[in-house]
């Protein structure tokens, strides 16, 4: 697995954990433990996304940090040769 793919998978994993916590927090907004978890992992997720976008290209159309329009160059996620 390439370095890019490892980071991409890690982002997917962390995003899943944070999303799961979001659904729980919607119904339990005062749960301190869940809030702590959200804060910790969402912070880590933001750092990883930033690192990915700096190095490899945008994850959203608001993250195109390169000099060229990379957004349309990389494979789309449903394509078989995507990451």
């Amino acid at each position: 697995m390439t370095e890019q793919k490892i980071l991409f998978r890690q982002i997917q994993l962390y995003k899943f954990a944070v999303h799961e916590t979001i659904l729980y927090l919607d119904g339990h907004p005062c749960d301190k433990k869940a809030l702590e978890f959200y804060k910790k992992y969402n912070c880590k997720l933001s750092e990883m996304k930033k690192a990915y976008e700096d190095k490899y290209g945008p994850l959203t159309s608001f993250g195109n940090l390169q000099g060229t329009w990379k957004w349309v160059e990389c494979p789309w996620p449903w394509e078989i040769d995507s990451l």
């Binding site: 991409f8 998978r9 982002i11 997917q12 995003k15 899943f16 999303h19 799961e20 979001i22 659904l23 729980y24 919607d26 119904g27 339990h28 907004p29 945008p58 994850l59 959203t60 159309s61 608001f62 990389c74 789309w76 996620p77 449903w78 394509e79 078989i80």
Partner: protein
């Protein structure tokens, strides 16, 4: 608004195309228990809901369902790539192929197009959330049935992930039901529509 993220919620990597399997998983894009209906159901219901926590659940589960729609579409796209004439005929895929070729179109396994009759938006949180709890169970059973028919580990892996999500959403909607019931007059459970009747929460009945 929504911002698109260039990443599926869970990876879809199908090594072997199979138009029959594409036809089977199509049920979960355009069928009565599918992901398009799920997203439309929750995202439409949230406008009339008064309980702010329940609105959060509807918004965030509805958004996740859009991601599931994309995963089923990715499955269909990959299962129908580079099909030959023989494969199309053998899989009984010709009915779909004539109209849509290898495009992704929301219809069920028998070709019936998506219908908004599959969803309800009642403007009454108690009715809506009961609909949502049932919808999650019906989606779960549709995934169970798909797993009974499909014999490709790459496809089954994705379907098992989606099946698991239905269980989690069922749990969250169970909490939404409790939150809504807490808002109701316990002595007159169905006398109120908390999202419509004025005077709600002040101990008065609508009668």
């Amino acid at each position: 608004m929504w911002i698109y993220e260039r990443q599926l919620q869970y990876p879809v990597k199908i090594k072997t195309p199979n138009p029959l399997y594409a036809k089977i998983v199509a049920a979960q894009l355009g069928g009565p228990h599918g992901e398009l209906g799920a997203a439309m159901r929750y995202l439409n219901q949230r406008y009339s809901t008064k309980n702010r926590k329940v609105v959060g659940i509807l918004t965030d589960v509805g958004t996740e369902e859009l991601g599931h729609m994309e995963m089923i579409s990715a499955l269909m796209h990959q299962l129908t790539r580079s099909m030959t004439r023989e494969e199309i005929i053998k899989a009984g895929f010709e009915g779909y192929f004539i109209n849509h070729t290898a495009g992704v179109y929301p219809a069920d396994t028998t070709g019936v197009p998506f219908d908004t009759k599959y969803i309800a938006s009642n403007g009454d949180a108690l009715a809506d959330i009961h609909e949502d709890l049932a919808a999650e169970q019906k989606a779960r059973l549709a995934y169970d049935n798909i797993l009974r028919l499909i014999d490709d580990p790459d496809v089954c892996d994705v379907i098992k992930f989606l099946r698991e999500r239905e269980l989690v959403h069922y749990q969250r909607f169970g909490e939404a039901l409790r939150l809504t019931q807490d808002d109701l007059d316990a002595q007159n459970f169905y006398g109120w529509n908390p999202d419509f009747d004025r005077g709600f929460g002040k101990g008065k009945s609508c009668k």
